[in-house]
Symmetry: C2
Subunit: 258 residues, 2 copies
């Protein structure tokens, strides 16, 4: 088992994602990952290099923007795969202009930061249909039965994409009717259905309420079938999230369920 | 203004982050970004290539894992910067083994998926100190005055890192005492303080309750000073999040406020 260091002068979110993604192409390679974020000076890069040098066979992914810090990191001797060094020359060639290396360009609050925080606050306030009047202000409304994944998806849509995502839980009373609730019909073009395989939903509910009727496969199937019928009646696009991560659900919803 | 396409066979979160990060090194380059996720067949790669070819001067970032789809994407003629093509050879050299190209390795639910969803549900349930008994089960507890950013930070810690992050709002009653509430003292080693510059807090509160005493700079300063005194008395590490994005706050908290 080799150690993979992810070194960044900021949060390290990007370089960790790149390392995970590239290393997934090496399925037989076993590794543990150590994040070293906020390496934002030559001194800190030297400290990181010493720590890495003390680890046998370490591999380093880096997104350091300062050339001097990058050089200091290399002094540890371990192989360093730097995202900027690998990609910047190709971008320079494509754009016909030189990169301006240096930290800071992406630091601090991004221009879309306020919008994303507003979206998170909106999604929290509009969680679980607590305020049906708010649905009118939503970019997207997720509907589905209890525990189908609406809340984490809505929050991820808000945090990652700045979308004001509300959610509405279809209760057994809603499911017993032959039409969607009026508050959902009003926002129909922005409504999306979420569903899961009944066994998956039952497993999720079982953790919460072991042995309950609520968690039984039969009850889950009945609710999911009724929800599917309601969505079909109103032409609501539905996403089956059974084998999807929250990132994938959110990305598919953002791109119109394609 | 040129158009930058981000093409992925999955969610595109990684390639969008890489494009944003690399292009931040070209501060004078103005562009708009179009995401093309779920390009997971040669046919879809051809469709993407046609769309890109119809855009003058487009630039393409790609993380397609299938070599045939990658080749189809290049047929559009626009410059393609492929994360895998740029990084995989260096990783192959470092590891002494060949990459196994192909989609799927990172698809579906990551092994840490359940842990992250559990963490999100925990953080929602433990939001705003609603259930002080839950603090004992938290990996991390964020404390601070109203609107200092505790909730989005806790949710991001849960979604991104799978940390069970709770939060506790310090009320004016808490601030009037000379000790932190007992439920926080019990979990002191896992407690972290969040603070903002008074002007920043006042601006945030003003949006919510314009012209209120709650939003006045004086009131904000008084509350923040009292919170700082409480944190200092108990040796609680404090993060000033005034100029930080939620990603940065979360990454710093995860790495011990370094």
């Amino acid at each position: 088992m080799r150690v993979v260091y992810c070194v960044s002068d900021h949060t390290g979110v990007t370089v960790e994602a790149v390392a995970k993604s590239v290393l997934s192409q090496f399925p037989d390679f076993e590794f543990s990952r150590i994040a070293l974020p906020f390496v934002d000076s030559v001194g800190k890069a030297r400290d990181a290099a010493s720590r890495i040098a003390a680890t046998p066979d370490a591999l380093v992914f880096s997104s350091l923007t300062d050339p001097a810090a990058r050089a200091a990191l290399r002094e540890g001797g371990a192989p360093v795969l730097d995202v900027f060094e690998q990609l910047a020359p190709a971008v320079e060639a494509a754009l016909g202009r030189a990169a301006v290396p240096g930290p800071g360009h992406t630091h601090g609050m991004a221009p879309d930061y306020e919008a994303r925080m507003d979206a998170v606050n909106f999604s929290l306030a509009a969680d679980d249909g607590l305020q049906p009047g708010r649905l009118a202000q939503a970019d997207l409304v997720l509907a589905g039965v209890s525990r189908v994944g609406k809340t984490p998806t809505a929050l991820y849509l808000a945090l990652q994409y700045g979308l004001a995502a509300a959610n509405y839980p279809l209760t057994p009373e809603d499911l017993a009717r032959d039409r969607l609730p009026g508050c959902l019909i009003e926002i129909l073009p922005r409504l999306r259905g979420l569903t899961l395989a009944p066994e998956r939903l039952a497993a999720i509910r079982e953790v919460r309420y072991p042995g309950s009727r609520y968690a039984s496969p039969g009850q889950c199937r009945t609710e999911l079938d009724a929800a599917a019928a309601l969505f079909a009646r109103h032409g609501v696009p539905v996403l089956d999230a059974t084998r999807m991560s929250v990132e994938e659900i959110a990305a598919r919803l953002r791109h119109g369920l394609k």
